[in-house]
């Protein structure tokens, strides 16, 4: 309720952000979160090799990155793995979401529990489990031509990303009006036609968002890939890890900056799609 107001609007008692201690706190936290990343980006353009003092702008290190064949190969590997594992995760994730949304069946809680495993099991445990699996049980042939030799890593990535896709798609399906499906069936569409022509179009925004999520998860993953990659199947994060283990160089700064730009752009697109989706739906989700 608006009571008597002075001419100058005073902040309300709960407007904590207008109080200086909290402003300072939020500011300091932001500085803590951003300063390391911003210095990393800025110093990727620095002429000095020693990396502390600013000696002038240069793109030399980006040129070095673009000429480094092992880094480029690793990057190409990462992209192929991300693309293929995203496609597979989308198929499996959409099927799982549809299954869990549509049906009641025995052992459903067990399946849901198994699906939540990749989210709760520590990455290192997933990593060693897949390492054991792909060396002892099903040794993935390393002599396969590229990109087939990446198969083990692709499977590993699908195994952790498809349940994320499933949960995104399932959330979207909750807003589906099943009368639309009944209408399609009444008009003579088969079950399969109904799914492809009515349900999948409704899923589409979630498929985009889930796909981008799977792509970023795959591109970013280090721990699980570290355990499943061999000498010929190095991904970008694994390569960067071996470069930074003992030294800090402007070349790594440049490579990291490129990866930051790519992931932030992908995630921004994903959020936009999800945001547009949420805006259209209002409160139905």
């Amino acid at each position: 309720m608006t009571t008597l107001r002075e001419t100058r609007p005073k902040p309300g008692p709960l407007d904590y952000l207008s109080r200086w201690p909290l402003r300072l706190w939020v500011g300091a936290t932001t500085l803590f979160l951003y300063a390391p990343l911003l210095t990393l980006i800025v110093f990727s353009f620095n002429q000095s090799k020693r990396n502390i003092v600013w000696r002038g702008f240069t793109l030399d290190y980006y040129a070095m990155v673009l000429q480094d064949t092992s880094l480029l190969t690793a990057f190409a590997n990462s992209l192929v793995i991300a693309a293929v594992s995203t496609a597979l995760s989308l198929c499996l994730g959409a099927a799982t979401a549809l299954l869990l949304w549509r049906f009641r069946f025995p052992f459903k809680p067990a399946l849901e529990g198994a699906l939540s495993l990749p989210i709760v099991v520590p990455e290192i445990c997933m990593g060693v489990a897949l390492l054991v699996f792909f060396t002892k049980v099903v040794p993935w042939p390393t002599y396969f031509p590229w990109p087939l030799n990446l198969g083990a890593i692709i499977i590993a990535h699908v195994s952790f990303s498809f349940s994320f896709v499933a949960s995104v798609v399932r959330a979207r399906l909750a807003s589906f009006n099943r009368e639309e499906e009944e209408a399609a069936r009444d008009l003579g569409a088969s079950e399969w036609r109904t799914i492809m022509d009515v349900i999948v179009p409704h899923m589409r925004p979630a498929l985009f968002a889930g796909g981008l999520l799977a792509f970023t998860l795959s591109l970013d993953d280090f721990v699980i890939t570290f355990f499943t990659s061999g000498p010929d199947t190095i991904t970008f994060p694994v390569k960067v890890f071996s470069m930074i283990r003992f030294s800090v160089t402007p070349e790594v700064n440049a490579a990291s900056t490129l990866l930051i730009v790519i992931t932030v752009a992908l995630t921004a697109i994903g959020l936009r799609l999800q945001g547009a989706d949420a805006g259209r739906d209002g409160h139905t989700g």
């Binding site: 939020v26 502390i52 195994s159």
Partner: protein, 304 residues
């Protein structure tokens, strides 16, 4: 919400079977089977160079309980707990400020907190290395200040300063905890924010009107009401910290190894897979225990 519209699987068994088959096969083959094999290995021992015999021995778990590994387990838990407490202390005021910010600034503040979380974990850790190392930005900056100070003292004939000795900020326990806080902080802020955002603000106003100060209102009204958010924030910070591999690997020193680093060594260099398997299942049990505890406390809170 969609529960009442669900069909029994018997209504369209064909569709059910085709939707069920691929994901379940995949889950069994590439997730449950690998985990089950590691679990089996944890009860086995090495024979020769490459073979592992599973004979139901508990020797690996007994080995994990010897003081060296017990202290590493304890240290991992301690690091994770300290990280969680720091994240909570740092994140709570931030979440509070975001919650009560103007609606137009709110999404920007959230974006500000979330943006670093989108960049690769490896790169964030590397960025900290560049800040903390001996020739890093902090030591460079301190060295610069030091030399300015030394020069002015010299010019004023007050005295001479010894040469600057860089601080050892990297490769120790401090760096590991700083790195974990740096990585996990956004995970803490988000659940805190979403819990506080749902609070009934009239309760806070009532408390303030009745004469309680802001600190008292926050501690006695906001914190208890935001408890579910605090609990889930603690979980999403504690669990990944407990199993952290990259942060201690890159920022830690000899004595700041966490359990994940020991597991990695058993599989990659020490070649004692059964022992590594036992350790990774101990880590997994610790994680599940934490989740179960949270679920238990959550149901108790709702019940009482």
């Amino acid at each position: 919400m969609a529960e009442h519209t669900q069909d029994s699987w018997r209504k369209s068994p064909g569709l059910f079977a085709s939707l069920l088959s691929a994901p379940t096969l995949f889950l069994f083959a590439f997730l449950l089977a690998p985990l089950a094999i590691v679990w089996g290995y944890s009860f086995g021992h090495n024979q020769g160079l490459t073979d592992i015999v599973v004979d139901g021995t508990f020797a690996n778990y007994a080995h994990a309980l010897n003081p060296l590994y017990l202290s590493i387990l304890f240290k991992s838990f301690l690091f994770a707990a300290v990280t969680t407490v720091i994240c909570l202390l740092v994140g709570f005021p931030v979440a509070l400020a975001i919650t009560f910010a103007r609606p137009s600034t709110k999404p920007w503040l959230l974006l500000l907190i979330m943006l670093p979380f989108w960049t690769n974990l490896l790169i964030r850790t590397y960025a900290l290395m560049a800040v903390l190392r001996t020739q890093g930005y902090i030591n460079g900056f301190l060295g610069l200040l030091w030399s300015l100070l030394a020069r002015s003292l010299d010019a004023l004939h007050i005295g001479r300063l010894a040469a600057f000795t860089p601080l050892d900020l990297l490769y120790n326990n401090f760096a590991v905890i700083l790195g974990l806080v740096y990585v996990q902080l956004p995970f803490m802020v988000l659940p805190l924010y979403s819990a506080m955002d749902r609070l009934d603000r009239s309760l806070l106003e009532a408390s303030l009107d009745l004469g309680a100060g802001h600190v008292r209102t926050i501690l006695q009204i906001v914190a208890p009401l935001a408890m579910p958010g605090i609990a889930s924030g603690v979980m999403v910070t504690l669990i990944p910290s407990l199993g952290a591999f990259l942060t201690p690997e890159l920022l830690g020193g000899v004595d700041s190894q966490m359990i994940a680093n020991v597991i990695e060594r058993q599989f990659k260099s020490a070649n004692d897979w059964p022992f590594g398997a036992a350790l990774s299942f101990l880590l997994m049990y610790m994680t599940f225990a934490a989740i179960a505890l949270q679920a238990l406390l959550g149901s108790k809170r709702r019940g009482g």
